[in-house]
Subunit: 273 residues, 2 copies
């Protein structure tokens, strides 16, 4: 089972959907699957990425799975993607035979997992030999900004520490390569996809700096205070300083990592469980 | 006058030249000046960037200036660029009339300056109205790596603190936009140019992670210890951990910022001093 820091309130679902729209171009560029290919989206959540996945691969047979029935219900309600099959599944133990898929897509999932290596091994099992996996994750250690602020940095660190306390890793982006190689994937390639939101990009400053990143920090305020990671004043000042980086002459930098790899000849082994 | 953290030993000159070769493609892409155009390279140092600047703009009339006669002597000796005119100059008080140049190029200079805004204003004075400025600077706060290491982060922070103590700013990259706008430039545009050196890019791990970035950290060891910013053991462990990120499954991330802007209609005013 996965552990999430973010709660799935409907406001949160809306935020995740907004985030996906702003970032879709950056994250999904280069990802399109052929007509008829069998694609597994592992950990679809409320379907924020499913929309874009389906739009870019209209002829693919996409199966989007998540462990949470609640998330799947929200996804079914809000995502218009007739070709997508929604299914509940435990990522550590997928209800599919070996070599069932040509491609696997994973976005913003591994950061929440206690054992991402175990899930990657399971994903490799359901991939046919030569099939591809695409993994996209953020890395909160890539966040820096102008004006710089120790309070803002400390607030960001609260999220990282909460994710770590929950068994996840908010700094997972930088190690996608070793994770994929360690799970037996081949032809591993990792590229940074950078968000740079400054005065010349006010829509990105609004949509990403404020509504995505800073909103995510604000979203863990109560947890961070309860854990004793910050005082209310310090945390609130950090959040205010993050908002400041989206205004006037401010600037914000963040990196998503997009990794791709292939299942080798012996992938799909252990099929037919 | 400028204050440099790095000394200009011949080993250092060699390191800076190696760095320029590895990074030339990344940094210089998009920078080429027309035949006959008058280009000022402000702060050429030992000529590490001059080589690439001249190679990409063979018909431009490049004047490369630096405050240090010693650096200029090294530059003249090692850089084969017949069209370049080398000249000693104080960047805060350039020996040129207003509107003397069509383009200004500045690379790895502002980070060392006590008053970068003052130099930018002076550079704007010698630009003709409508002329362009290109500024490239790093940002040491953009460095993160796998495996992560608090000792490595502390060692990087030593360089940032030493630069700050000398009146410079190792985190200047993120604020090039506000600096240029504040100096009266128009059409300011800033883009991150990211170095991502991982197992798939062993030449970059060697040439950048080890020989450029980690070498720069190693180069301030004595200063950092003398300043009391680190113990010898902690500093050396940090350097070892940085080297580790260039080996095996390690990875290293760094951002250079490349900014461009134009001098407005009233640039070059105060000409003829």
């Amino acid at each position: 089972m996965t552990t999430y820091v973010h709660g799935y309130s409907s406001r949160e679902a809306r935020r995740l959907a907004d985030q996906a729209d702003v970032l879709a171009g950056l994250l999904h560029a280069g990802t399109a699957y052929p007509d008829g290919s069998r694609v597994l989206e592992a950990g679809c959540g409320v379907g924020a990425q499913t929309t874009h996945l389906a739009a870019r691969s209209p002829g693919a047979r996409i199966v989007s799975v998540d462990h949470s029935e609640e998330s799947l219900a929200l996804a079914r309600a809000r995502v218009h993607a007739p070709g997508v099959e929604w299914q509940r599944a435990d990522l550590y133990e997928l209800p599919f035979a070996g070599a069932s898929f040509d491609h696997v897509f994973v976005c913003f999932v591994l950061e929440h997992l206690k054992e991402p290596a175990g899930v990657l091994a399971e994903l490799r099992r359901v991939l046919r030999p030569g099939g591809s996996i695409t993994v996209i994750e953020g890395d909160h250690g890539s966040a820096f900004f102008h004006p710089d602020s120790p309070h803002a940095r400390a607030a960001v660190d609260c999220l990282v520490r909460l994710q770590a306390a929950g068994g996840g890793d908010g700094l997972i982006g930088r190690r996608l390569g070793p994770l994929l190689a360690g799970a037996g994937f081949e032809e591993v390639a990792v590229e940074p996809r950078t968000v740079w939101a400054d005065a010349a990009r006010p829509a990105l400053a609004e949509g990403f700096t404020r509504e995505t990143f800073t909103a995510a920090i604000e979203g863990v305020r109560e947890e961070a205070l309860a854990a004793g990671f910050a005082t209310p004043d310090d945390f609130d000042r950090g959040v205010a300083d993050l908002h400041r980086t989206a205004a006037g002459d401010g600037a914000f930098h963040y990196v998503f990592f997009k990794a791709s790899a292939r299942a080798g000849a012996e992938a799909g082994a252990g099929a037919g469980r």
